[in-house]
Amino acid sequence: MEVSRHWRLKKQRYALQGEVCPHCSVKIFPPRDICPDCGLDARTPFQFSGRGEVYSFTTVRDAPEGHSEQVPYTVALVRLEEGPLVTAQLTDLDQQDVEIGLPVEMVTRKLRSDGERGMLVYGYKFRPLLRPAA
């Protein structure tokens, strides 16, 4: 994979930095500079909390190049608490059953690796929210 391509995406990938629309206040992730709701310019950076819940999920057993060493892995659509959906892997699941509605939080992990000489790509995954003791 291309070094510059991953460098461009580092703020969103490492820190879940998106945008907020100054016109209609909708929160945007991944950043896209044009508000998907009102169509106006939206370049104001916005830091997402990283908390959300599982909206849907599945387990991948046949992986594309770059992901073979991870199989099986769980991919989810996570509904961030600020509104947007995001595609990401779930991690640190241990024996926990995943279900729709499971509270999760963002962590940074290795996303893919391109062979022995290739680069490693890091970015967001989500793990079950560690519940405070009752």
């Binding site: 391509r5 998907p36 599945t58 995001v86």
Partner: protein
């Protein structure tokens, strides 16, 4: 001028000839040979009518065969050197989009004839590299780095659909069973065997809850359709004429997470609505519907998007026996992607050719009785591009 020539030029586009190559693993046949095979046979059926432009529907040759410029390659290899030719690429919707481009060329009056050949050579690569190519239709910045595949996208939709609509785990079984039943008598299908409910329920998991029996095989294929204006067609044709009365395309975001409503295929709905509006028809007028069942959940969502069922109720059409050849709305009448096979960007050309065979009464054991109006709709990935054509026997 022939009889029945409409006055509106956009309504004067006919399917003059079709050809289909058996879908499968063509180890001994190259990309250009597959395309040539389809072109050779469509020109025989065209009986002297020559194409003035060539549109190649292909999605994966640049990645899987490291070949661009298929227009010139295929034209030259097929004996059409010199013709205007280029590729139309919209991933899984390439076929429909190429037919659409040919339709626009003919409808505009620029050409009297335009040839579409859909061709895909998938089986030269296997395993992770093939899967990476097929996954390139997803968002490469925001989905692919997380290991998403076409099956994973469909599984995410399927789980959410079953959850929101409280549908049973085997809600989609009838779609794959119907597709397989129809492929038994299709000589161009890869899987010519029936599928039982029991076999469906025991199928191997691919991406839970989606099993191998919810997924179409991605394989090689080629099909061709020749479009022509009415005045160049024979005045006393051997077969009923088939006219394109609706043609439309629409797009939405590539990524699932960017969809305004995950369980509504907005591009499919918009392209169907535009095609209906063009000919003043609606879902109740359609005698058969070749939809893009690359995964069974897409059959459900397309039936809902095209107005054959309310949101959340599309799966019931299979349960209630409404999608067979003699039922209310026959779908995947030659086996669809599930059992005919899914030749990537060529799929949409197969669909239009199959609808034409139905409307001309040439479908053999797959014939939908007295089919007059048929619709074909193909999708790219989870519906980011959708193209809909409505064909009518005249």
């Amino acid at each position: 001028m022939s009889n029945n020539t409409p006055t509106d030029p956009t309504q004067d586009v006919f399917i003059a000839a079709v050809s289909l190559v058996k879908v499968g693993e063509h180890w001994d046949t190259s990309l250009r040979e597959l395309a040539n095979h389809a072109i050779h046979h469509v020109l025989i059926e065209a009986n002297g009518l020559r194409p003035q432009a060539l549109y190649i529907a292909n999605a994966f040759a640049p990645i899987l065969s490291r070949q661009t410029q298929l227009g010139a390659l295929v034209a030259d290899f097929s004996g059409l050197r010199g013709i205007e030719a280029s590729t139309v690429e919209a991933a899984g919707a390439s076929g429909g989009m190429a037919v659409r481009q040919a339709y626009l060329a003919v409808a505009s009056g620029t050409c009297d004839t335009a040839l579409v050949v859909g061709v895909e050579k998938i089986t030269d690569k296997i395993g992770p590299s093939m899967l990476a190519a097929l996954s390139s239709a997803a968002d490469s910045d925001h989905e692919a780095p997380h290991g998403i595949t076409p099956a994973a996208q469909a599984a995410l939709l399927m789980r959410r659909y079953l959850h929101e609509h409280e549908a049973p785990a085997d809600a989609l079984a009838g779609f794959s069973i119907t597709a397989h039943a129809n492929a038994v008598s299709n000589p161009n299908a890869i899987f010519r065997r029936a599928l039982s409910a029991k076999a469906y329920s025991k199928a191997a998991m691919v991406c839970d809850p989606l099993t191998i029996m919810d997924a179409a095989p991605s394989v090689d294929g080629a099909a061709a359709v020749l479009l022509a204006r009415g005045h160049v067609l024979p005045t006393a044709p051997d077969l009923p004429r088939v006219r394109i009365v609706g043609s439309a395309a629409s797009t939405t975001a590539l990524a699932l997470h960017d969809q305004p409503d995950l369980l509504t295929l907005t591009a499919a709905k918009q392209s169907a609505d535009l095609a209906y509006a063009q000919c003043g028809l609606s879902a109740k007028d359609i005698d058969l519907f070749e939809l893009h069942d690359q995964f069974s959940i897409y059959s459900v969502l397309e039936l809902e998007a095209a107005g054959f069922a309310e949101a959340g109720h599309g799966w019931e059409l299979a349960r209630d026996g409404e999608i067979g050849l003699e039922d209310r709305i026959p779908i995947t009448t030659f086996g669809g992607s599930k059992a005919r096979g899914d030749p990537g960007g060529a799929t949409g050309v197969y669909q239009v050719a199959e609808v034409t065979l139905q409307l001309q009464g040439r479908a053999g054991d797959n014939q939908v009785p007295d089919a007059k109006i048929g619709m074909a709709q193909c999708l790219a990935s989870a519906g980011a591009t959708a193209c809909t054509h409505i064909l009518q026997r005249t």
